[in-house]
């Protein structure tokens, strides 16, 4: 018997990273801005996305969404009410979306061609841990946090917040009753991800939406 050490130096998620890179190239070639929305369950991703998609459609933009969910298609049905194409991805217990699932659901999507879209939103499974490891080829990763969740969420989940390109605080219309400490939340987000754009929004009242939509338009215009 001889003992030998074999050097490998191989990324464990290499397969996902390669698929994500292919997807990213496809998105850019098609001229579609792709966003990956990540938050805890109950943050209000769906309500926020519903409002975003409705407002973008009203401005003449072509939008679509892929929606990850462990079991149901409730969120997809809610989003479809905007009239935009929405496709459900049931992960059946898997805690995150990966690049392979996205690639598969982009194929044969009835009536949807990437190059006919301006924006594609990917609503990830409600989870603040696992989705942060899986690149979906998105241009913008959005970390969402609601005023009901506690200002220290960014400190508790630094991986996600550090890897995000934009942060969205949701439900600010009920910040008062929730005793939401705005300054602490902004400070914590900045401590984990210095310089990140932060949007304070309410899907209910529309607060903060103008700023968010302007950010999307700029990001789309400067892509690729």
């Amino acid at each position: 018997m001889t003992t030998r050490i074999v050097e490998l130096r191989r990324g464990i998620l290499k397969k996902n990273d390669e698929l994500a890179a292919e997807l990213r190239a496809r998105y850019v070639a098609a001229g579609v801005l792709v966003l990956n929305l990540v938050s805890s369950p109950g943050t209000g991703k769906t309500a926020f996305l519903e409002r975003t998609m409705r407002e973008l459609k009203a401005r003449g933009a072509r939008v679509a969404a892929l929606v990850g969910d462990l079991e149901t298609d409730n969120d997809a049905r809610r989003l479809a009410s905007s009239g935009a194409p929405v496709r459900q991805i049931n992960t059946h217990g898997i805690c995150h979306l990966d690049a392979e699932m996205i690639g598969k659901h982009l194929e044969d999507w009835p009536g949807v061609e990437l190059n006919q879209l301006d924006y594609l939103f990917i609503e990830n499974v409600g989870n603040l841990v696992c989705p942060s490891s899986y690149d979906l080829g998105e241009r913008i990763r959005v970390a969402l946090l609601s005023v009901t969740e506690g200002e220290d969420k960014p400190l508790k989940y630094p991986t996600l917040f550090n890897s995000a390109d934009a942060a969205v605080i949701t439900k600010i219309d009920i910040a008062g009753p929730c005793d939401f400490d705005r300054e602490a939340a902004l400070k914590n987000i900045n401590e984990i991800r210095p310089g990140i754009r932060i949007f304070e929004t309410s899907a209910k009242t529309g607060a903060g939406m103008e700023e968010w939509l302007a950010y999307l338009a700029t990001a789309r215009a400067t892509q690729g």
Binding site: M1, T3, R4, G11, I12
Partner: protein, 123 residues
Amino acid sequence: MHELSIVTSIVETVTESLADYPGARVKEVRLRVGALASVIPESLDFCYGIAAEGTPLEGSKLVVDVLPVVVHCEPCGLDVELDGVQSFRCPRCGTPSHDLRQGRELEIDSFEIDEIDEAKEKK
């Protein structure tokens, strides 16, 4: 909890590489995991035992080297190591930095095997 899919990928990758070393048994697999990789070494270890069962990796040890976060500090002109993942500021001058140079790694560094000696094999 995506640790099981991570260890499954480790077992698959190492098993593939073993094709070059017929009959070898794996003693140890060494990982490089960044402090921001969002995997828990204890959970990896727990899942590893299950994923390795019935493979040439069964009974081997998983060694996790945790790599601290390193950011580039513009004013200092240096890559600096952070104490933890609660504040992304240069420990020397306090300037915030998002220029990450290390900390998201999730990779198999190497593995150790017991090879069957060729002489013995020929008998």
